[in-house]
Point group: C2
Chain length 118, copies 2
């Protein structure tokens, strides 16, 4: 065994070394955390939830979710930057839709998680 003061060293050095080797790198984990963070805002997740059912324009999203047009635009900008949504322009109107196959999986898995218990 390898027991010393926690401040100085560690209790299970072998475990740490093994995990350190197999674990994902910080860059990747940071990027993944960014993705989760984007989905971790109620307004953005409601937008995603809506776009999962149909493409929509900013105005419709604003009305549907009862959130100001400006707030919706700001959030769509973030979703765009993370490449979670794409858009197409038709005259004055801009239509947004989901731009990633994985979003639905994340969405459904999250739903399964919260559905499992009270």
């Amino acid at each position: 065994m390898d027991i010393e003061k926690c401040d100085v060293t560690v209790i299970h050095e072998e475990t740490i070394e093994k995990v350190k080797k197999d674990m994902l790198g910080n860059e990747e984990l940071t990027e993944m955390a960014e993705l989760f963070k984007v989905l971790g805002d109620p307004t953005r997740l409601r937008i995603v939830s809506a776009l999962l059912l149909s493409e929509m324009c900013v105005c419709d999203l604003s009305a549907l979710l009862d959130v100001s047009q400006s707030a919706i635009s700001h959030q769509l900008r973030i979703l765009k930057q993370t490449r979670l949504v794409k858009y197409r322009r038709e005259g004055k109107v801009v239509y947004y839709s989901l731009d990633d196959e994985h979003i639905e999986t994340l969405f459904l898995t999250s739903y399964a998680h919260i559905s499992e218990r009270g």
Copy 2:
């Protein structure tokens, strides 16, 4: 068509009504957003990433991730509250491990997402 001022009403009323009907409720979406938010912090996701490989005590996580023991404890508390981790006590040492089958799916899907493009 159904075009009026965006502030007053909406452009595609039928789409909105349809989506409003089929969309998940706000309570569920808020709960799902909470889950994503918890995974959306780099420190917490690194903890999850480590526990995906092995159960670990607080001290080991602190050393592995180079984060103070206090910070790790605070984050584990949040992961506990969301029931993402469970723990068992063995003398002075508390061992944490993942407490949900869905976490790995979320983790892998997120990884697939960020791996797809530069």
